[in-house]
């Protein structure tokens, strides 16, 4: 590689001042060319992330959450067209080509993928998979790299790390493989880690172990983490902020506790209600979100959630709501008739009077929740 090689920098405390900005994304759009037309997978997303913070990215499948993280990393197929600004540290990433980005992958930003079975090379020993990036990105020689790999395996709590270095992925369980994937991602000391549904393929007890491991590594290394998940439970306890995505856009973003206590966007509210809760008695009726997400080739002109929204009003079908600030700093949402406001309440009442099905479903779900 021509570009300067980066060392695995030991964590220098002055370098990682809390509150300092690491990532800025402005109006990011990622469209995919398909025979039917352009699919607007990510359509105007802006957010920023400070060092050492965790952002949860939630939404249903197809909402663009994975494409968003891959767009930032620059891991897109050739059918994709990306516009918008991505500022990492003080440098623009969106203007860099794949060759230049290689200098960032691994050393500055890394990714943990969903399926640990397929993200490891099945015919390569665990040890070599970890040392590979160390040898490419740093000045380490083979012995140093091997020792670092051993230390990494120990730090992700893999028992008998010495023996594991010589093993192949199929010899490990799913949870162990995901630990290896995390070790590979952390090898060169990235400052930003994308965890794309890191526990979706794992069992619930193993999921808890892996999420703990990620939090622990984040604290120790003072990394920023983007935790992508469809499971609100996974992001609730382990993030500083949560961004809810729907149909390629961020529809609500807030500090985690604020999001759960002061929901403004009807979609977030609906998502929260449709999850079966342990505290409810059995056979509790679940609130449902009727319909399905809009076609991203030809998204509706108004609010993208309007067709499924219990609060929908004529204005929602015509005008797209902008991302507006709520009372709490850092809380933004897209809605004309937000939940928990007079306007929202009146809108819902009007819809109930008109016997709009999605409004009735939302309310009957509500009653069931409160009755328990």
């Amino acid at each position: 590689m021509i570009l300067s090689r980066r060392r695995v920098a030991p964590v220098a405390s002055d370098y990682h001042q809390p509150g300092s900005r690491l990532l800025d994304v402005n109006d990011l759009k990622t469209y995919f060319r398909t025979p039917r037309g352009m699919v607007r997978a990510v359509d105007g997303v802006s957010f920023s992330l400070d060092r050492g913070r965790t952002l949860g990215l939630v939404g249903e499948s197809g909402c663009g959450k994975s494409v968003l993280s891959r767009s930032i990393m620059g891991l897109l197929p050739s059918t994709a067209e990306r516009t918008g600004e991505i500022i990492f540290g003080s440098e623009r990433l969106d203007t860099l080509g794949p060759e230049a980005l290689r200098d960032y992958w691994g050393t500055q930003m890394a990714m943990v993928f969903q399926d640990p079975m397929t993200s490891l090379n099945p015919v390569m020993r665990i040890g070599n998979q970890i040392t590979e990036s160390l040898l490419v990105h740093t000045d380490m020689d083979k012995n140093q790299a091997k020792e670092t790999a051993l230390a990494l395996l120990k730090s992700v709590h893999i028992p008998e790390a010495e023996r594991r270095l010589k093993q192949y992925p199929h010899e490990l369980s799913g949870g162990m493989r995901q630990r290896v994937v995390i070790a590979v991602a952390l090898a060169c000391g990235p400052q930003l880690l994308f965890a794309d549904e890191p526990t979706t393929a794992l069992d619930v007890t193993v999921q808890a172990q892996i999420l703990d491991l990620l939090s622990e590594q984040q604290r120790e290394r003072h990394m920023a983490v983007v935790l992508v998940s469809h499971d609100l439970g996974v992001v609730a306890g382990r993030t500083h902020d949560i961004a809810v995505m729907y149909a390629g856009q961020i529809v609500e973003q807030a500090p985690t506790e604020v999001l759960f206590s002061e929901v403004r966007m009807p979609y977030t509210e609906a998502l929260l209600r449709s999850v079966p809760r342990l505290e409810n008695t059995s056979h509790t009726r679940l609130a449902v979100i009727g319909g399905r997400p809009p076609d991203l080739i030809d998204p509706p002109t108004g609010c993208r959630f309007a067709a499924r929204c219990p609060y929908v009003q004529p204005r929602c079908l015509e005008e797209q709501p902008p991302l507006q600030e709520a009372d709490t700093p850092g809380h933004v949402f897209r809605c004309w008739y937000p939940v928990g406001t007079e306007a929202g309440k009146e809108a819902l009442e009007r819809n109930l009077a008109a016997q709009l099905p999605q409004a009735e479903a939302a309310v009957s779900g509500d009653l069931a929740v409160e009755a328990s």
Binding site: E60, S61, P159, S173, G175, M176, D203, V204, T205, V206, Q207, A208, Q209, L211, D212, H230, D231, L232, G233, V234, A236, G237, T256, E257, F260, A270, L271, L272, S274, V275, P276, R277, L278, N280, T281, S282, H283, T284, R285, L286, A287, V288, I289, G290, R292
Partner: protein, 400 residues
């Protein structure tokens, strides 16, 4: 865990399905045997939903498929309406099959992409030569309507034109069309988004009510299983650990594994802090070489010497709550006192105390029923609070 025994079975007259001492072994290569289901017994009463829950590889799907004789179990009996299905073969078994249907996890791969939805849902009727073509068509329309699809539109489309949730509705319609009495749902919502998952769960509840169905609901998601079930059986490595009504099971789990599973669930509420130390360490042991005695003992915070030697029998620790554990978390001894022996692992004193506690359980059924009803909010907070100390010692034991 590792429970054996049939203490939890009800009288045969009341149940639609009664599975006794079910064993399913697979060849593991090199002459080894995978013990996928090892002496499992359960029963399902008519119009009841039994939830089978556990981690992947615990044998929950295998057990349910063995009920359908897909494949036939290695040993044990499957009494469906009093008839032992394991004794039937060939045509005799085939004529029993319409009464038990199954809905699989992945709705898209379980539908033939080249057939129309009308064909797919009508196939069971054609195979069984039920009625005239017109009658069949009416039946198909009725089934599609019951699962919330418009028959006029859906009938002539193919599966790829539907979303995952709609495909799952089609699978359910196909299972319904022969009017079965028992439907086995094998992770029917695991592949679906939460919003769609809620629709399917509500739909299954409606259909159960409308057609008087009995369901066996397999899932790894404890919140889902709580929502749909009348009884929940928790499985671990081919054995049943605990069986109880969901509200009781979740308020006061008796088996350490159930407690660990419950504390592992991520709660969609940031105010609830998940106590990571309440979790079970390590991975599932290999079913090729399961641990002796209780199969959960290698990960159990409360394991004692006895657990390695003696396989626990399923017994009733509270009204309707059955557990296979030597040192359950529910009994007539206060949980705090019960926990103490486990903090100091493997001491004979601890053993004795645990045994006494368990011995007294059966004789005082009313003691646990009061507190668990009155104070469900207490119980969950109690469990994680008690578990951390245990788990840390368990972790150490495992590493050594």
């Amino acid at each position: 865990m590792a429970g054996i025994g049939t203490a939890h079975l009800r009288p045969t007259d009341d149940v639609l399905l009664r599975v006794e001492h079910l064993v399913v072994n697979f060849a593991g290569g090199r002459g080894r045997t995978v013990s996928a289901v090892a002496d499992v017994s359960f029963d399902v009463a008519e119009r009841e939903t039994l939830g089978l829950v556990g981690e992947s590889g615990c044998g929950k799907s295998t057990a349910a498929r063995a009920v359908m004789q897909l494949p036939a179990p290695t040993s044990g009996s499957v009494l469906f309406k009093g008839k032992d299905l394991t004794k039937f073969h060939g045509e005799k078994l085939r004529v029993q099959r319409p009464q038990i249907q199954i809905v699989f996890q992945d709705p898209i791969s379980s539908l033939n992409p080249r057939r129309t939805v009308g064909d797919i849902v009508g196939a069971p009727l054609r195979i069984w030569k039920r009625g005239t073509p017109e009658e069949r068509r009416a039946k198909v329309d009725e089934a599609l309507d019951a699962v919330g699809l418009d028959p006029a539109i859906a009938r002539d489309k193919r599966p790829h034109e539907f979303s995952g949730g709609q495909c799952q509705r089609i699978c359910i319609a196909r299972a319904l069309v022969l009017e079965p009495q028992l439907i086995i749902c094998d992770e029917p919502v695991s592949a679906l988004d939460v919003s769609v998952q809620a629709q399917i769960l509500n739909l299954l509840e409606d259909l159960k009510e409308r057609y008087g169905l009995t369901l066996v609901f397999i899932t790894h998601d404890l919140a889902v299983v709580k929502n749909v079930s009348d009884r929940v059986a928790v499985m671990y490595l081919g054995k049943i650990c605990e069986l109880a009504a969901p509200d009781r099971l979740y308020a006061s789990p008796a088996h350490p594994y159930t407690a660990a599973l419950l504390s592992s669930i991520p709660v969609p509420d940031p105010r609830v802090t998940t106590l990571s130390s309440g979790l079970v360490p390590g991975d599932l042991p290999s079913p090729l070489d399961p641990p002796s005695g209780c199969r959960f003992r290698t990960r159990c915070p409360r394991a004692q010497e006895r657990c390695a030697v003696e396989q626990p029998q399923i017994r009733e620790v509270a009204d309707g709550q059955f557990v296979a554990c030597h040192f359950p978390l529910v009994g007539d001894v206060a949980p705090a006192a019960d926990v103490q022996p486990a903090v100091r692992p493997v001491s004979s004193g601890g053993n004795g105390a645990g045994t006494e506690a368990s011995g007294g359980d059966d004789s005082t059924p009313e003691a646990p029923s009061g507190p668990s009803d009155a104070a469900p909010p207490d119980a969950p907070s109690d469990t994680p609070a008690g578990a951390p100390t245990d788990a840390s010692s368990g972790d150490g034991a495992r590493a050594g």
